[in-house]
Symmetry: C2
Subunit: 450 residues, 2 copies
């Protein structure tokens, strides 16, 4: 089979790369409904050309959930992906335009090429390749490709409720995943939850001349003071009750994590830092990345932000915060606790606007899917495959896997410098082919795996 797949990729590799650039040229950010529709349509058509059946599910005006079905067998693998992307701003930091995909030095640069369009496409291309070489798939693969993952999968639960069989399956192939700098595949077995919230202060009816700063209230100062009550210098979140529902790692979980290599130096070099944040040692950083929740400022604005000077008391200030959550934290409860925290400290005037919430999910490690993914990853990508209990990021696996406690795993091709959610997002083509080959192998392996 390797020889046959080699030949297939030799013949069709250029087309596959062209398809990647075509998909990444669609600016499917949350604010561009037209582009979201175009990306959904593109995915549906590509599923069909790979031999799958495809349909779009919709609720209200939300982006479509693209459902693809292909193959038959005793197992069903749910392939969870998304076609929406993070905002590309700040544009001036991109070396080539985010929606004009560029190939440089064996890498493809574009917003969403890693997260998640490259991953999504190589799964579909793997279906095509498998069917061309071997005929029908030996298992049932169901694609669930949503368009709101980067906005917290707001409508996914409602979309899945349209057809209760959508989450019937045996395991889930999750979005994302990466290969570390030493070439080892990192298989993620879960993801953190998220609570995204905006805090807004309006201190007075209008901006004022800063000569009155002795007595007119400044919204920026108010917000800074409120913010500085949320996290201590060690990264510990100071909201009362915040940690109540956190399930701490067991001794076995700690031991497993400690046994995994961790490329602290690679990360530090990439981000140009000498030490990790919050005073965390390398070991603490690794443990926290899996088991600790966070309170992160994504954006902050008040008053005059142009070049030059203006002497003004801003009447408005706002901040966007994401809390990454770990089992069994509930985003709705975090919102309630945050409101109570602010009220208790006299910040009743700070308005809280909840934007999105997704529950955390960690699946079983002892499962045929994980064993199959590990085996094909080691054969096609590198040894050893690292089984990491959770990503630091969020995927809607609770919605998909929660009901049946399904295992979930990545089999991805990201790399430490992928720049997901940041300017100059990119993938390495060498990794792309490895992950595609591993996916082709997974179909057979998982069908047979005990």
């Amino acid at each position: 089979m390797p020889d046959t797949l080699d030949r297939y990729l030799e013949q069709h590799g250029d087309r596959f790369t062209s398809e990647l650039r075509e998909l990444c040229a669609i600016p499917s950010e949350a604010t561009d409904a037209g582009a979201l529709d175009a990306a959904a349509r593109w995915c549906g058509e590509r599923l069909v050309s790979a031999g799958a059946e495809s349909r779009e599910l919709r609720v209200d005006g939300a982006p479509a959930l693209v459902v693809g079905e292909v193959g038959a067998g005793k197992r069903t693998l749910i392939c969870v992906q998304h076609y929406d992307v993070q905002p590309a701003v700040p544009l001036d930091l991109w070396r080539s335009p985010p929606y004009d995909p560029a190939v440089r030095d064996g890498a493809v640069f574009a917003r969403g090429v890693d997260d998640n369009k490259g991953h999504l496409l190589l799964r579909i291309q793997a279906v095509e390749a498998y069917r061309a070489i071997h005929g029908d798939l030996p298992l049932h693969v169901r694609f669930l490709i949503e368009g709101e993952e980067e906005s917290g999968s707001t409508n996914l639960a409602r979309l899945l409720a349209l057809d209760a069989t959508l989450t019937d399956g045996d395991g889930a192939l999750k979005e994302g995943g990466a290969i570390d700098a030493a070439g080892r595949p990192q298989l993620l077995l879960g993801g953190k939850g998220i609570f995204y919230v905006e805090l807004r202060v309006r201190s007075m009816a209008r901006d004022a001349h800063s000569g009155a700063a002795t007595h007119l209230p400044n919204a920026a100062w108010r917000l800074v003071t409120a913010l500085d009550t949320l996290v201590d210098r060690g990264g510990r979140i100071l909201i009362d009750g915040f940690y109540d529902d956190v399930r701490p790692p067991t001794e076995a979980e700690r031991a497993h994590l400690a046994s995994l290599p961790f490329e602290a130096d690679v990360i530090k070099r990439l981000y140009g830092i000498d030490a990790f944040a919050w005073g965390r040692s390398d070991v603490e950083a690794r443990l926290a990345s899996v088991y600790e929740p966070t309170c992160n400022i994504c954006g902050l604005i008040s008053g005059f932000i142009e070049e030059g000077t203006k002497t003004v008391i801003p009447s408005e200030a706002s901040v966007k915060i994401d809390f990454r959550l770990v089992p069994e934290q509930d985003p709705a409860r975090i919102g309630t606790l945050l409101r109570a925290h602010l009220d208790r400290r006299g910040f009743g005037d700070v308005e809280l606007v909840a934007k999105e919430g997704t529950r955390p999910y960690r699946g079983r490690i002892d499962d045929p899917l994980v064993r199959a993914a590990q085996a094909v990853a080691e054969e096609e990508i590198g040894t050893p495959a690292l089984l990491i209990p959770s990503s630091g990021g969020t995927s809607p696996m609770w919605q998909v896997c929660g009901k049946r406690s399904l295992a979930n795993v990545t089999l991805g091709m990201g790399h430490p410098g992928s720049g997901a959610h940041a300017p100059n997002e990119n993938i390495l083509l060498a990794n792309y082919w490895k992950a595609l080959r591993a996916t082709v192998a997974l179909f057979r392996r998982y069908a047979d795996q005990v």
Copy 2:
């Protein structure tokens, strides 16, 4: 004389208003060198048409200092004004465009119409009117009209050094000034200094996916933490040594201030607040507005500030701060103290970029100029005239008056809702004519005042 001036304003009032709209249509913000040049030229030509001599002084590429000279007598009155304006942003809060001056309900709306183009123009129009009615001025008036007042008068000292006689005089008519809601003229006898600074944090080489917020450093959090060390909840500035050079008010100064009416309710209604900032009572607010320095956030930015959500760890954050200073605080020393404060608390990585500095200045109350201004203000505007030792704002009076300890005074027409430095800046035409009449009267009165 009143009758004659009445007739003159009846005949020429429409032209005077047209001139005001013409001057205010020039968008002379600090970043628009062409507009600054145009405004300087406009002022010079208007001085000449009023009967004055005019010239432009320049250093390097800085905006011109327009010098006007007119009249002769034993006294010289230095009329300190500026033709530059604050940035008009945020534009969406303006009811009519900032540089398309609109007249509504007896008010003129435009950026700079109060601060300071209206004040500057009515002084020149007063010269024209006086000369048309009475002939030559009975004193020497020297206009110093600069183009960098809103940026801290960065080059004014160098410009004044080009001709040491520019600051020779007997007293200064200062920019600004207002009439309170009860119709009482507020004569300001000084202004606070300013130290404008930008603090910048760069926490890592690039932005990162917020899934890594457990261990990658967030510039916004870093800045918030640093900021929250600067001021306590009572508005007291926590920088070591900050108050060392503050000259506290004497008992006589306190008593004088306490004797002045203070329209706390008018201010609160205008800004839609129930209480003054920093927990200050009305009496404390009034005292602080004259005698207390401030540390004010003018603008704050980090990360993702567009609509919607993005989950990112910002690598950069910055804040613009103005410190308003009182005698004898020195802006350069405040910069040094701020640097030491940050270093001592472990914020050596917070970059400090000083933008501008002007020393505070309070002039004598017991002076012929102040007596003359008080008399004409009470005759032409309203009774009593309130002698306020200092504005909360900043004018470059230290540069102009410091050498000879000259008295300085406003004779202005602003009102509580003028919106200087804010959207919908405006003046009331009724006030404009009062201040113009008072200025005409001042020329005679100050020439004779003992």
